[in-house]
């Protein structure tokens, strides 16, 4: 510790020289060490200089209070550094930044740690997937990034491990498998760290899984609680399922990171689509699939829920981020959850009464036809059977898929990445076999007859529910949005440009040079030593080119390969 003392006795000078030698390889990389990620820092992640978690902070609003890069100077944004990762699969990770450490994950669960200022690689980690068949991974072998706690970095893997690594060295601290691989379950999400726990959820709604959210001790990996999204007989909600064993393959995947409200001590997490897809095989509302769920973070006990799509037959999931915000609607102040669902409706839900405040369509909505007494109802004509092929909107891809929307507290707007898709769908024979999909439907994604574009980024005023601006795109809009106090909204295109929009008007104020590939990973921003950076991974892949039906043509020419880009204003 003597090396930071201003006055040094002779002996210590020698020691200092020795330290200098030892640290020489790191020189230039670091002025400071790794700042521990405490509960307090996570609680105030919104104002941290880094980007400490998946959607920046516990509200999930992907909003940063930085204004160095703003609507007046964004046109001068330049490349600060970049890094060619390669790997021609989908890159969906948000870079996570703490101090000068920047972490990204890649397809097939590699993790790279960079110096956030120079781009120097500090260490890499590679999950060993030898012997893993990736049989029950639907939508590309993606990973959405890491979580931080203490001096550890956490990744959830395709073979259902949660891995804790030393953030400074990449050395494994612990690994825990929460389910065997290849039998219906996989993980692609960024974990969430809450009060000393690492919280993850499983994917598997297409494979007859019975999915769950699980909390592990961040220090040891010990399991603290596990909550299934589909109840077993006798549990609350079980009366919304047919009798018998079907619940064991009922899906309800919890495949996207949730949010956390410290004030009410509530963890919010989406429940995904029910399984099998064909609803006639499982009469009932099928709770808690396609539902917002509010959990006690200490026990995993479910406090309340709101089902977005009852008795889903369209794979609408319900996992899109439940964003925590407050708003004023018809003169009344609300503590709200804002959620743009795959089914095409923007839900605004009262966190106090657990009732719907309002819902507005942001895409062409046919399956969920409207609301009665604050609850959604569906159109029977849109329900497929073994004999009946239907046409409905949106397609199972949405509306909007997982790509996070952003809520800007300054403009009171929510920025919603949108895809204009519809589909045909018909029942089909199916059987449950671990390792195979369990759908019971065939389908094809087709164009929305009401819209000549495949995508859009839209802004809605949360206080009125009205659309404020709409940036239409010939290609699907498959990237997250990030807003900043600089009056900007950032989001990337499948054509490979990162765009900065005027948050108020939607005018495009900056367009990056064409990056090496299409963008399907959300942008983030961070500050080091007074400089604001914007970071994004390019690397096309994901669900659209696999399941996109007619939409595949619109993205067939997108080049592949992962590449990390970091921008700043050069001064």
């Amino acid at each position: 510790m003597t090396r930071f003392q201003p006055f040094l006795p002779r002996r210590s000078l020698w020691r200092l020289a020795l330290w200098a030698l030892l640290l020489a390889p790191l020189a230039g990389a670091f002025a400071a060490g790794y700042p521990a990620v405490t509960n307090a820092r996570l609680a105030h992640a919104a104002t941290d200089n880094g980007w400490l978690m998946f959607l920046r902070d516990y509200t999930g609003d992907s909003y940063a209070p930085f204004r160095q890069i703003n609507s007046r100077n964004v046109a001068d944004l330049k490349l600060a550094w970049d890094y060619d990762i390669g790997m021609k699969r989908g890159f969906e990770a948000s870079p996570i930044v703490n101090g000068r450490y920047l972490f990204v994950t890649t397809p097939k669960d590699h993790l790279l740690a960079f110096d956030a200022v120079t781009g120097k690689v500090l260490w890499t980690y590679q999950e060993n997937l030898t012997g893993v068949g990736l049989k029950t991974v639907c939508c590309d072998v993606v990973n959405r990034g890491v979580a931080l706690y203490g001096n550890n970095v956490y990744m959830a893997t395709l073979d259902n491990y949660v891995v804790a690594l030393d953030a400074k060295t990449g050395k494994v601290v612990w690994r825990r498998q929460i389910k065997p691989a290849d039998v219906g379950y996989a993980m692609t999400l960024a974990p969430l760290t809450v009060q000393g726990m690492v919280i993850v959820g499983t994917s598997g709604g297409e494979y007859g899984a019975r999915d769950f959210v699980v909390a592990l001790d961040a220090k040891t990996g010990r399991e603290i609680w596990r909550q299934y999204t589909v109840p077993s007989p006798g549990q609350p909600g079980s009366d919304t399922w047919p009798k018998g064993g079907i619940y064991q393959h009922g899906g309800g995947s919890a495949w996207l990171t949730g949010t956390f409200d410290p004030a009410s001590d509530t963890l919010f997490w989406g429940g995904g689509n029910p399984g099998p897809w064909l609803a006639t095989l499982r009469p009932g509302k099928n709770l808690f699939t396609d539902s917002l769920q509010a959990f006690d973070p200490r026990t995993g006990k479910r406090k309340w829920y709101y089902q977005y799509t009852p008795h889903d037959s369209w794979d609408y999931d319900g996992v899109n981020t439940p964003m925590i915000t407050s708003l004023t609607y018809h003169g009344r102040r609300y503590q709200a959850i804002v959620h743009a669902d795959r089914n095409g409706w923007l839900y605004v839900i009262d966190r106090d009464t657990h009732k719907l405040i309002y819902a507005v369509p942001f895409a062409h909505t046919m399956s969920v036809a409207g609301f009665r007494d604050g609850l959604p109802y569906t159109d029977d004509a849109a329900r497929p059977t073994i004999k009946k092929q239907i046409f409905t909107c949106p397609s199972f891809l949405g509306g909007k898929n997982w790509w996070p929307a952003s809520v800007d507290p300054a403009t009171h707007m929510v920025y919603v990445p949108t895809i204009h898709t519809c589909m045909t769908m018909k029942g089909a024979p199916t059987f449950y076999k671990p390792g195979l999909a369990y759908l019971g439907e065939t389908f094809k994604v087709v164009h929305d007859p009401n819209d000549s574009n495949w995508g859009a980024l839209q802004a809605f005023d949360l206080d009125t529910g009205k659309r404020v601006w709409d940036h239409e795109s010939a290609r699907p809009w498959d990237d997250g949005a990030m807003s900043t106090a600089g009056g900007l909204v950032f989001s990337g295109t499948e054509g490979g440009h990162l765009l900065a929009f005027d948050a108020h008007t939607g005018a495009v104020l900056w367009r990056s040079p064409k990056l090496s590939s299409g963008i399907i990973a959300p942008p983030v921003t961070y500050r080091v030593d007074g400089t604001q950076y914007v970071a994004i991974l390019a690397g096309y892949g994901g669900a659209t080119p696999i399941w996109g039906g007619e939409m595949v043509k619109a993205v067939a020419d997108v080049p592949r390969g992962g590449h990390l880009y970091v921008f700043s204003l050069k001064r």
Binding site: A80, G86, G119, V121, G133, V141, K433, T442, G548
Partner: protein
């Protein structure tokens, strides 16, 4: 107690069954398709499936469809299950869009690539959709070079990053 007894009985039964299974694996796998079906299947696979499952079935965004991890005792797939699955749910962008014949040809090709021999009788819809024959990778019946390759595919390394100076 009764549960325990049952468990003991079941594990005994399982143990008894094991050598039989081993015996089965050792006996030559049945010839269920013709060479010309597999040849046709290879070309349909290349056009409709390879973009996701790899040109050598080694896997891509879709799982590998050849080798000991795909056709494993652990997975326990039967030919009927694989045939019915792929003919209803694949290709992913347009499930069920190919003809019966095309799906049968592809199934023949998958059997061939997993070490099953061709024969003189064609694989028909009736046979495939009733076949309880387990799909188990027949390493011994595949050319050694191919086996080595498939093993290399199992854990593909990161194509190592190139640094771009800041």
């Amino acid at each position: 107690m009764a549960g325990r007894l049952l468990q003991a009985f079941l594990s005994a039964a399982l143990l008894a069954a094991l050598p039989v299974q081993r015996g089965k694996a050792a006996s030559p796998p049945p010839a269920l398709y013709t060479q010309s079906q597999a040849r046709q299947g290879a070309s349909t696979f290349e056009g409709k499936c390879a973009s996701c499952h790899g040109h050598h079935l080694e896997g891509g965004v879709g799982p590998a469809l050849e080798g000991p991890v795909f056709a494993s005792a652990k997975s326990g797939f039967t030919i009927q299950q694989i045939y019915e699955f792929l003919s209803v749910e694949m290709p992913a962008y347009a499930p069920g869009s190919l003809s019966r014949t095309q799906y049968l040809d592809i199934t023949a090709f998958l059997l061939q690539q997993n070490g099953y021999p061709a024969g003189s009788r064609a694989l028909t819809d009736r046979i495939a959709s009733a076949s309880t024959v387990p799909l188990l990778f027949q390493a011994a019946l595949k050319a050694p070079a191919k086996v080595a390759k498939s093993r290399a595919h199992a854990g593909r390394p990161l194509d190592m990053p190139k640094t771009n100076a800041p």
